[in-house]
């Protein structure tokens, strides 16, 4: 044991195996990470978000590990789950094969038996896991980590699947990194002189930030009043994907923003234009066979826009809208589901194009998400077009 990490009697009991195998394994993970990162103690967490859910990424060994933990593991705090590799109810309609569905269901069953709420969304903050300013969390899902730190002002490091599960089963996380004031202080001030028109500009901004600030904590000024929920979740998803960013101070948004750093960089229109160009490939209109919206999962306002854009139209290309299941219930009641599905587009809950097994199914993708561009290209081998939501839907209907 490192001399710096002090465990309480309760935590030592967990480590000694007195509270079961899963708690012992969890405490081993947390103590080792605490030692590696020089934490002095473990701290309680208010909630956990677990990534590493799709069977496409976990495989049989990941499932075996979860089964092993599920034998006697039980969550001690509110714990929600990332998207799975399929819509849990409509997987067959979305072309998922039976063998995959069976294995994916076993993953979800293992999580559920530990008391994890199988929300299956990357936007826990839209479905009831909504931390407040200053609360300590152990979240994985990089876009949600960046959103929790930057928009909500909660405190979490970028956890991996197993370390987040370990936090859930013990209610604790090592106190280091973004749990501490010193690691949250801005190191560079970024003046955004570029005009941000729509969500794709916020995605492109994430790419430029990754290039210009690297791993430093940035304070963004002059982002403008146009940054609402949808734009901020796009920005966070993109900055996390391309730069590993876990915290951005956005002037007028981040609760603790205020004191900015002396070092300055500027992001101009030319930077954004270049980044946007880099986020699309040459795609022949005939080649485009997939349109995907909802990365991160769609908000109510986005669902309303999608319903409006597709009302009375017919899509000519496979079009998937990804969302959390609770928002689908609201969309049903608001009439959005009817308008969207009458067009031939599908609402795919519980999953998304990043984690579903889609390699080889499509050639070219149109999306409004810069994060989706990254995984479309690198994980699935698609050619991609980054366009704002309404333009994506016009491509879908062939207008």
């Amino acid at each position: 044991m490192s001399p710096t990490l002090q465990l309480t009697a309760e935590e030592r009991s967990m480590l000694a195996g007195e509270q079961g195998h899963a708690v012992k394994k969890s405490m081993e993970i947390l103590a080792a990470l605490g030692e590696i990162y020089g934490a002095r103690r473990l701290i309680p967490v208010a909630s956990v978000q677990i990534a590493g859910v799709s069977y496409d990424n976990l495989g049989e060994p990941g499932l075996e590990f979860l089964d092993e933990m599920a034998r006697d593991g039980r969550v001690r705090v509110l714990t929600t789950l990332n998207p799975a590799g399929m819509d849990v109810e409509r997987w067959r309609e979305l072309g998922i094969d039976e063998a995959f569905a069976g294995r994916q269901q076993r993953v979800l069953d293992a999580f559920a038996s530990m008391g994890v709420i199988t929300t299956c969304t990357c936007t826990p903050y839209l479905v009831g896991n909504l931390p407040r300013f200053g609360q300590h969390l152990a979240w994985s899902e990089s876009s949600a980590v960046c959103f929790a730190n930057s928009v909500l002002g909660a405190r979490t490091n970028r956890e991996g699947g197993p370390s987040a599960l370990a936090a859930a089963l013990t209610g604790r996380t090592p106190e280091h990194g973004l749990h501490l004031d010193e690691a949250r202080a801005p190191e560079v001030t970024v003046e955004v002189s570029a005009t941000l028109h729509d969500e794709t500009d916020f995605g492109a901004l994430g790419v430029v930030l990754a290039e210009k600030i690297g791993g430093r904590v940035a304070c963004l000024i002059s982002v403008g009043d146009g940054a609402g929920l949808e734009e901020l979740k796009m920005l966070c998803a993109s900055a996390a994907t391309y730069g590993g960013t876990a915290l951005l101070h956005v002037e007028g948004v981040t609760p603790e923003a205020g004191r900015c750093a002396a070092a300055r960089v500027t992001i101009a229109d030319a930077d954004l234009v270049r980044a946007r160009a880099g986020l699309s490939d040459e795609v022949d209109p005939d080649e485009l066979d997939f349109v995907s919206i909802g990365c991160p999962h769609a908000s109510l306002a986005e669902l309303a826009r999608i319903a409006r854009a597709l009302d009375g139209k017919q899509v000519k290309r496979e079009t998937w809208i990804h969302l959390a299941r609770p928002l689908k219930s609201v969309a049903d009641r608001a009439g959005y589901t009817r308008a969207i599905e009458a067009s031939g587009a599908r609402l795919a809950c519980d999953t998304c194009m990043v984690v579903a097994p889609l390699k080889g199914r499509f050639r070219a993708l149109a999306t409004n998400s810069a994060k989706c561009v990254y995984y479309g290209r690198n994980k699935n081998g698609f050619r991609v077009l980054l366009r704002p939501l309404e333009q994506c839907l016009r491509l879908a209907t062939g207008e």
Binding site: E35, N57, E60, P61, F65, G161, P162
Partner: protein, 133 residues
């Protein structure tokens, strides 16, 4: 003569096996075949060699956090390394070693390790002993 290197315990246990040493970081998700233990990353110094049963030494892990599960998968199939030695262990490898129960030590100067030599890792004490060939 045998040389004793002192580092830091990441996950306890002991192992005695041949060293496999890489000067470059290793990704267990996508960089190592999870069924055979053979390094598959193109251009990697260990490309084509197997980590199975070796005292595997590399500076640190890289890539997706899913790599922790890949280490677990290797170990479950009997294709995992006998021990892991790092310069600086990070989350992916540390968590992988813990869930797979592989002895793991870091803060070791890898330049003192000779590929192919026999080594004894005592992770509980945080030591790596390079034995005579």
């Amino acid at each position: 003569m045998a040389e004793l290197l002192r580092g830091r315990r990441i996950h306890g246990g002991r192992a005695r096996a041949q060293l496999l040493v890489s000067g470059e970081a290793l990704s267990f998700f996508g960089g190592v075949d999870p069924d055979t233990g053979i390094v598959t990353e193109r251009g990697h110094p260990l490309e084509g060699r197997s980590v199975a049963g070796k005292v595997l030494a590399f500076p640190h892990g890289k890539g997706s956090t899913v790599g922790s599960y890949s280490i677990y998968r290797l170990a479950r199939q009997g294709r995992g390394p006998a021990a892991i030695v790092n310069q600086v262990c990070e989350t992916i490898v540390a968590v992988g070693a813990i869930i797979a129960d592989i002895p793991c030590v870091d803060h070791i100067d890898l330049l003192r390790l000779e590929d192919g030599a026999l080594a004894e890792v005592d992770a509980d004490r945080g030591t790596v002993e390079v034995l005579d060939r």
